[in-house]
Symmetry: C2
Subunit: 389 residues, 2 copies
């Protein structure tokens, strides 16, 4: 093995971003070597990936699946178990970069683990910054670790900011497709089905983030994420509806000039940029042809039909652990919606209730964040159960 390759560990290699990251690596594998790849339960896919790409090791967070994998696998590398195993994979001392593509709050500790090992983090897990932005960015500053955005919007901002001074930013404009319900009349929201919500018009993503796009809380998360990633006050971060998802975000500068990053809605582009940042590597992803697309449109966000976006802004205003509550309440509500237990509009109502009910801690420690996360989940679960009684 050539020793000057970058060693990459992928947390969540069997999820949507993980799979696409491995697709990106296939065409430039000569530049990378795999440290660990990790999964929660999809052990068949994990084994297939491991046998094909020969990482240093794998980690499986669910103990039951770990035991099953261990028993039947042909993979000869290290096999780690449980949450501790994922933390060990994130902290693997040979890592040059950890790509965190875990889903939801589960990304917080492994991301911190990578940072504390002084490893560059490519962050595809926005809930980490939503829940623990202050702690994560403080740790990154202390360890002089760079956090590189993988989200298409934040990657767009990062690309627009290459070579620019942070002082010259006037504002960041995050684009939002508006999701599958941007043109749906308000009276239909109550009865929207899981199938309808899972049909995102432009992006192919995991189910959690697809529902988050449908409620537009995802865009609220991204505002919070941008706040932490680019160290900007919330009033310098705007949301712009752009249904075609071609302009991935924009930066307006103090001289009135605006820069934007555009491309086909294909997550492999921001993933590849994060992996090779600040350089670019040659990839044959589909090219953008603006004459083929013809028209790009832009609209003002609608906080009325999409109260989740408004709730996200409210949570940021409240500050402290409010965004932990926002995220945890959303995770439980989305899960219940996906299970067909609550309606689409219940998601926003449950988050709203949780934000009003749960005590907000101004400057929470990591333990307090974890505590607030747990408490919120319990309360929202009980709110759902009460509702269903």
């Amino acid at each position: 093995m050539p020793s000057n390759n970058r060693i990459l560990t992928i947390l969540g290699s069997t999820g949507s971003i993980g799979i696409q990251t491995l697709q990106v690596l296939e065409s430039t594998i000569e530049n990378f070597e795999l440290g660990y790849i990790t999964a929660n339960s999809k052990i068949d896919l994990l084994e297939e990936q491991a046998l094909k790409l020969n990482p240093y090791g794998v980690a499986i967070s669910d103990e039951k699946y770990y035991l099953e994998f261990k028993k039947k696998t042909n993979f000869k590398g290290k096999i780690l178990c449980g949450e501790e195993g994922v933390l060990e994979a994130a902290a693997y001392k040979e890592n040059d970069m950890v790509l965190s593509a875990l889903v939801g709050f589960s990304g917080v500790k492994p991301t911190l683990s990578a940072i504390n090992s002084s490893t560059t983090v490519a962050l595809a897990n926005k809930e980490t910054l939503v829940s623990a932005g202050s702690i994560i960015t403080k740790a990154a500053k202390e360890k002089k670790v760079q956090i590189i955005a993988v989200d298409s919007e934040h990657s767009a901002v990062l690309q627009c900011l290459i070579g620019e001074s942070i002082d010259s930013i006037e504002k960041i404009i995050l684009t939002a497709s508006g999701g599958p319900f941007w043109t749906t009349p308000e009276e239909e929201f109550e009865s929207l089905s899981v199938e309808q919500a899972l049909e995102h018009p432009n992006w192919s993503m995991g189910s959690k983030i697809t529902i988050d796009s449908a409620t537009m809380i995802n865009k609220g998360f991204e505002v919070i994420e941008a706040h932490w990633l680019f160290d900007l006050p919330i009033d310098k971060i705007e949301v712009l509806i752009h249904p075609q998802s071609i302009v991935h975000s924009l930066v307006q500068f103090i001289d009135g000039s605006v820069k934007a990053q555009l491309g086909m809605p294909d997550m492999r582009i921001p993933i590849s940029f994060a992996l090779s940042y600040p350089k670019r590597l040659n990839y044959n992803f589909p090219r953008l042809d603006l004459t083929d697309i013809g028209i790009l449109t832009f609209e003002i966000p609608d906080y009325f039909r999409f109260p989740c976006l408004k709730l996200a802004y409210d949570a940021i205003e409240k500050g402290g652990s409010a965004t932990v509550v926002l995220n945890a309440a959303n995770e439980i509500a989305v899960k219940a919606f996906l299970e067909g237990r609550i309606s689409f509009t219940d998601i926003a109502q449950l988050i709203d209730k949780a934000l009003n009910k749960i005590k907000i801690i101004t400057q929470p420690t990591l333990d307090e964040i974890i505590e607030s996360d747990k408490e919120t989940r319990l309360i929202v679960k009980s709110l759902i159960n009460d509702k269903l009684k």
Copy 2:
């Protein structure tokens, strides 16, 4: 005077770009000091500018107007005369930057004069690179002088390339509004009037460049300019019709990512960027609001109704002095059109004839370029006279 100010000389301060440059300077005058400002004939405006902004000196290229100015002016600084005077202003040893906003071929020698004095050039005069691109860029390389684009399109490309590697460029896409006749049916082109041609839908510019926009030869010039400025082969430079003139140009990279610079169609933005490059200064120019604009559209260029754009590409293919002929023939034809002596469609026909009639020199010297320019002008003038007989 504070000694760490940048000293700026403006060649062509009474033209459209010159006037807008002085507007830009008004709000950030604390960062700049004026070396020379120059004019051809508009001596009343030149005196007003000189008395208000107190440059080190002025130069007037037309001797008649120089004498008139000299006789009546209250300006106490240096007053230079003729083409030699403009060259001296460009070569003024205190200059930190020369902004070349001369019109047409007259920009070549003063731009070279600035480069040979090792002064950074902000280039708003595209005909300089169209006519003498190889000589200008060779001199700039030798003297390690940077040429900064002022054209909105090239400024957009430059802004997209900050912090990027030249190796990662896949192609440059120059946007074109299509000018006032983009939607005009072909059969009406023969009878288009000067007044119609001078009504550009988006940009407020001088009359020469406005006609060049109407014929779209301007975009051909910009392709040639981009070729020299960014050292890229012509097949990596495309033209994209974008009638709203909001996206000022784009760069596509080898990973499929595209960056664009956007803004209101206001030349003060690219001018200010050139003046403060690579930094940005704070300006209160009108801000872009994409929700207000709503729709951006993109189309394929039409070489049939706009043969001048095709002629420009042909001239680049021919190489050598062909672009000198292209430019000189166009200057004479546009002048004749503005004087009401020929029709709109005659412009392309005259350029075509000139390109077929005049011998092309493969690697012309500056003298040969000047000679070819003169010869073309004589031939096109006689073609016009023959036509009018």
